[in-house]
């Protein structure tokens, strides 16, 4: 006999945020236009301060300080449900995900599989414990129909006591006292039912079917009939994907690499469940860390790859390996997301001989291999820090008008408009060199003759804090020395008005 388990993840967006970081302060998930965000969900700390769904973010900020606000991301919620479904696949072969307005969760058919796990109670405990390690909180509902299980779990998520309805005869007594608002019916219908003084599922069941049908259409009756097992209710089957991908948005900026261990644990637990469901392991894990690009230019993501000699899936062991790699990683900018990708699944039993991936052979540099491949190879050998390409940047300050970009990381963030740069020397010194002076006139292998200029550049005053990027106030000149060299030099506008060499023309 079918037995459905509904797992409801109350306030899923908040769970996603707190799953990624240990955060005990007030936190809200907002949606709506960027200028006027509205609170959609909040955690306990925030609601204790009086924050509630529907408030404007500005109002919430007035109530709770400091408040972390995260933008709602429906895609991430779906990803999370799929990730969870992939994990839960180890417990049941028939799983469906559901995401109806504010209620998200999974439906698992456990009637078929519970005996494999030693009965319903044991299965229940395993799922419950597993969810905790993944960082999810869920309410459970068991019933003979999926719809009833869903409603029961929803009721419990709202704090309403309600028995399971494992037997079909228990369905109506269990559902009748439940308030209509948890049915997930559309708001106008619920509003109308309320205005008619109808409060519970039982109140609606007591009305003549034809009159109800005329007023509210068939949708309500269909839902009720499915819940009460008067109508079959086939559920779509979740098909587990062939590869694993999961991503966590970090609700607050993470600047220390080791802080990433907490979310990494979550991801590895999830991966473990996923691999168990497929009886597989993996030898290659790729962690991708994306960075905050708010303050400076966009920063390419940091990729940390774990290569293993033999397929593995044990979360604890993988976490140890990752921690070792992480210790050698410095974050160029605070991290904002952490993602885990596994494309290669292997049978868990099989073993590889070498600890390192095979070294690239000469054949990799064959004639048709493009520069990209060369770059990849170089990259693999030298590490991403050593392979660059130059990119023009739109900035008046000469030393910031170019930047070195890691060659492989194609972030698509190249500056689109290459500015109409005036004639600039081919070689610009990254750090201008002070020039010797005689009678305040610059000298470089002899007295310098000023040929063009002054070109005055005063820019960058807004760059604060980082000493490497600071404002410039200079008069630039093209100068020539007795040896016939053409130089690019400047004089500081501020006292003591020193001269510097900044570049060479070819």
């Amino acid at each position: 006999m079918a037995l459905w388990l509904a797992l409801i993840l109350p306030a899923l967006p908040v769970q996603l945020a707190s799953r990624a970081l240990e955060h005990t302060g007030p936190l809200v998930v907002v949606e709506g236009p960027a200028q006027r965000p509205v609170v959609a969900f909040c955690n306990h700390a925030a609601s204790a301060c009086g924050v509630a769904a529907g408030q404007k973010l500005a109002a919430a900020l007035a109530l709770a300080q400091p408040l972390v606000a995260v933008a709602r991301n429906h895609e991430r919620e779906n990803d999370a449900l799929l990730e969870l479904a992939g994990w839960a696949y180890q417990f049941s072969a028939h799983i469906a995900t559901r995401n109806v307005s504010t209620v998200s969760g999974l439906l698992l058919e456990t009637g078929g599989s519970r005996e494999l796990f030693g009965g319903q109670a044991r299965l229940h405990r395993r799922i419950e414990r597993g969810l905790v390690t993944l960082g999810f909180q869920a309410t459970f509902g068991y019933a003979a129909t999926p719809q009833a299980a869903w409603w029961i779990a929803t009721a419990r998520a709202l704090g309403i006591r309600c028995p399971d309805a494992v037997e079909p005869s228990q369905l109506e007594p269990a559902l009748a006292p439940l308030p209509l608002r948890l049915t997930g019916w559309d708001a106008p219908a619920l509003e109308t039912l309320h205005a008619l003084g109808l409060a519970t599922i039982g109140d609606v069941l007591a009305l003549p079917r034809d009159q109800l049908n005329r007023r509210f259409g068939t949708a309500l009756l269909l839902d009720l009939d499915r819940a009460l097992d008067r109508l079959s209710d086939p559920q779509p089957r979740f098909e587990p994907p062939a590869t694993f991908f999961a991503r966590l948005d970090l609700p607050a900026d993470v600047s220390e690499a080791e802080q990433l261990m907490f979310p990494a644990h979550r991801l590895l637990r999830s991966l473990e469940g996923f691999l168990r469901g497929r009886d597989a392991g993996t030898t290659r894990l790729e962690f991708t860390i994306t960075h905050n690009s708010r303050r400076a230019k966009p920063v390419p993501p940091t990729v940390v790859t774990l290569g293993l000699a033999a397929p593995e899936r044990d979360a604890r062991r993988l976490a140890q390996l990752f921690a070792e790699r992480l210790a050698r990683v410095t974050l160029p900018e605070p991290a904002i997301t952490l993602a885990l990708t596994v494309d290669r699944l292997q049978r868990f039993a099989s073993r590889h001989a070498s600890l390192l991936p095979p070294a690239p052979g000469a054949s990799h540099l064959s004639a048709d291999a493009g520069w990209q491949q060369l770059a990849e190879t170089l990259h693999a050998r030298l590490g991403s820090e050593r392979v660059f390409q130059l990119q023009a940047i739109d900035d008046h300050r000469p030393e910031h008008a170019y930047r070195a970009m890691p060659l492989v990381a194609q972030t698509g963030e190249r500056s689109r408009s290459t500015p109409a740069v005036p004639q600039r020397p081919l070689l610009i010194l990254p750090n201008p060199a002070p020039l010797e002076e005689s009678d305040e006139a610059p000298v470089y292998d002899g007295a310098l003759r000023l040929v063009v200029g002054p070109e005055r550049i005063e820019s960058g005053w807004w760059d604060l804090g980082t000493p490497a990027r600071r404002a410039v106030f200079r008069d630039y000149f093209v100068a020539r020395n007795p040896r016939g060299q053409t130089l690019w030099i400047f004089r500081e506008l501020a006292a003591p008005r020193r001269w510097f060499l900044h570049g060479f023309f070819a």
């Binding site: 973010l57 109530l63 303050r295």
Partner: protein
Amino acid sequence: MQVSYAELHCISNFSFLRGASHPEEMIGRALALGYSGLAITDDCSFAGSARAHLCLQETIETYPAARAFKLIHGTEIQLTDGPRLVLLVTSRHGYGNLSQLITLARRAAIKGTYRLTRGDVANNLALLDDCLGLLIPPPHAPDRTDAEHARWLAQILPGRSWIACELTRGPDDAAHLIAVQAMARQAGLPLVASGDVHMHVRGRKRLQDALTAVRHKLPLAQCGARLFANAERYLRPLYRLGRIYPAGLLAETLAIAERCNFSLAELRYEYPEEVVPAGETPATYLRRVTYEEAVSRRYPQGIPEPVHKQIEHELQIIADLQYEPYFLTVYDIVRHARSLNILCQGRGSAANSAVCYCLGITEVDPARRVLLFERFISKERNEPPDIDVDFEHQRREEVMQYIYKKYGRDRAALTAALHTYRPRGALRDIGKTLGLSLDQVDKLAKTMAWWDGRKIQRERLLEAGFDPDNPLIAQVVELAQELVGFPRHLSQHSGGFVIARDRLDRMVPIENAAMDERTVIQWDKDDLDALGLLKIDVLAIGMLSCIRRALDHINGFYSRQPQAAPAPGFIHRRGERPLELATIPREDDRVYAMLCNGDSLGVFQVESRAQMNMLPRLRPKKFYDLVIEVAIVRPGPIQGGMVHPYLKRRQKLEPVTYPSPEVKKVLERTLGVSIFQEQVMQLAVVAAGFTPGEADKLRRAMAAWKRKGGIGPFRDKLINGMLARGYTAEYAEQIYRQIQGFGEYGFPESHAVSFALLVYSSSWLKCHEPAAFCAALLDSQPLGFYAPAQIVRDAQKHGVEMQPIDIAKSDWNCALEPSTENPGRPAVRLGLELVSGFNEAAAQRIVAARNERAFVDVADVSRRACLDRGEINALAAADAFASLIGHRRKALWAALGLAADAPRTASLTAGAPIRESQVDLLPPSEGQNIVADYERTSLTLRRHPLALLRRRFDSMRLVPAAGINGTRHKQSIRTTGIVTCRQRPSTASGVTFVTLEDETGTINVVVWRTTAEEYRRELLGSTLLTVYGHVERIETESVPVIHVIARRLVDHSALLGRLTVRSHDFH
């Protein structure tokens, strides 16, 4: 060598988000540097020209040498398919031409942009007469296109065009000079130096960069080449220019300046002519209509002698100043409004005159009231008369359309409202450009509640958790501070009209407003004022609509009810003239008695809580007391500390004294305390020796507070003047402080008088015809401080019978019907307008169908009134079918049962009613009904929701509002009520006023800052708020003024369940 130079290419901050200095700063700096002249050449605009002109005029007064300085008017225009040009005007004719050309370019594009092609210029060559042209070459080396542009310019402006050479320390200025010289040679054009000036000093570079970033909607770090590479686009000292430019190019600037001889002072307002019939002069016509209207409208029994003398006196002054066409223009508009039965009322300096009373521009009767016309209009002050006319809110548009139709769109236009940066907006924009996150920007902007005034305060930043010494925050604050007061954009003024005799666009450019088919001129009312041009403000007042509706209700009811007994004191009788604004009985004692009790809910201007508390203390007994009441509860007098002295003197707790007979003359009518703006100016004249002209400048400085930063420059003159005339230093300081406090909030007596008349009229209606007044207030929503629920409850308190919304009886608007208890008196039948989600057209169909025959059931209503499902459901939920089929749930069930397509295909389904078994729906409880009433109609005629909770409140020992009246001063108390209003006035430091309401009345709660901070959440979030605190009681001759001072707040909103009541919150 002495260098002479006139800057010919300079944009101010009226080239929005480009220029980084005010026109005044530009003029000031150019004068200080010894420039021979300066052209303000804003981007296709003359918006900053009035400011520049005025600044120069003022400078000349203190520094006559500035007379030699040449202010040139011009504009910079980027042609769509051609070069960037600077066009300068040489004469009035040229000014009119260029103004027209700008209009052409602006009207061709959406608000804030313009579009002008070479073709447009070629087709309107006449518009370049008396204009000079400068071609601004691009910064890069000139190419073939540039050369072609130069030849084109030489062709269309032969002998009047130049190529501008702008050397601003670019990559290679020497090469640029050579290139433009070659280009000039080829085109046969002379070369002239100019500076592409964007700021008056180089220190504004950071702000200029920030403005550029705001314009591009990018953070500064991403602006790159969109920013200028350096800070050279400022007004450079002459010696520097001498080093940069060849002497010939500098000399050429003077030659050009020499040819530009136009001053804005030449603009003279020319009045419309059609207001005067052929064969008459404005003077003869004004005299004729004044006397004709006086006899027919005001004095059928003959004009009293003093009035006659007054009219003659005023006509003389008007004639001397040649203001007749202005009065006649206003008269024409008012007369037209009256012919459409639109209520209106004039106010302002010239409005309160015997002439305006005769012409019907105002109802303020000179025979009854102290009117000093010269107080309002004077010969010495070269100030245009000022008449604002208020019209009924809903019908003002008709008046505006009349003006457009009569004078044409090329002669009439709305003045601009210039929006300037305030701290919030400045912080937001600067914060964004400097890369703060949206959250931070929001938080930062939020620290600047408007009551912080115009300065960004350190303490506020600290409170919000920002470190003011953090370099980034410091930079944001510093730049935002500079940005405050910068013009941001022009939008249309709510109703300030300019009307020209000929084409308006030859006086000032006209551009598109945001609304379709609306245009706005490029000057705001301050500019027009400063140039001495006339404007008419066509404004809207909701209370005028309300008064007209009340009058219609009254006249309708008594003409339908033969046996009706009108209110005592009501002169109207059946068959006589209907009641009008002008025939409302005057100086009625019961009206004043009502006001003395603070019983003023719904009354114009004096219904706020502060006013209600002031009324029992001021105890108005006559009309002039209302004039003072209107003016005194305002930020100006409160900040100037005038309220308490006046109250004390009025209550005879303090002797009324005057420091001199001159001052007595000015302040006698306000017991020695200056309350009105006019009094302040007169004081400056009689006590400090200001000339009327100087006093007028003082007034303008007060009005332009936001722009110029106060009246500081007048301080010495004022205080020294008063000391010299024997006043004590203390008194002089006091007067100075008062003037300062007035700031922009100063309220003129001339306006207060007109407002007071509406206060009196609405009070009379409330006192004698409360049913009509209540119905009219409900019809006029949204209006005033109070929600429909409170208006209805107040009417019930005054004995008005209220009848519920009923499908069989209600119209769209509220209506008067004979009271069931006393058929001679009116009761209010609530209108369908109160049903949320309903519409007027549906209501009209219901009335029409009902007049044919009565409705029998819900389906009948739906069918015959052709209502759709939403409409019929709205009625059912609002309990409008109660008389037809019973409680609202039954009605709703029936409504839902109608076939979905029933109404639109009425005849098809009409014959086949659906038979259904009876469904037993539980009737709603009283509480559920109350909640549903509030949800659907925002009020209830059942019991107050708190009446249901009273037993519970009693057990919690919460005292009802009525119980508070019997408490002692300082007594501890706890009470609760629904929050109807939260207010945090600018004048009270940190105190929040909360008004609570229960079934017995209202409770005034005062929450001091520390309590407010401790209970912030309860204060802001509660619907039902319980207050622990003590009573503060001020005895007056009538009702005591009682406040509850809160010590602790508790949120009990949960007790209300689903009840939704919205509070009015003011900050």
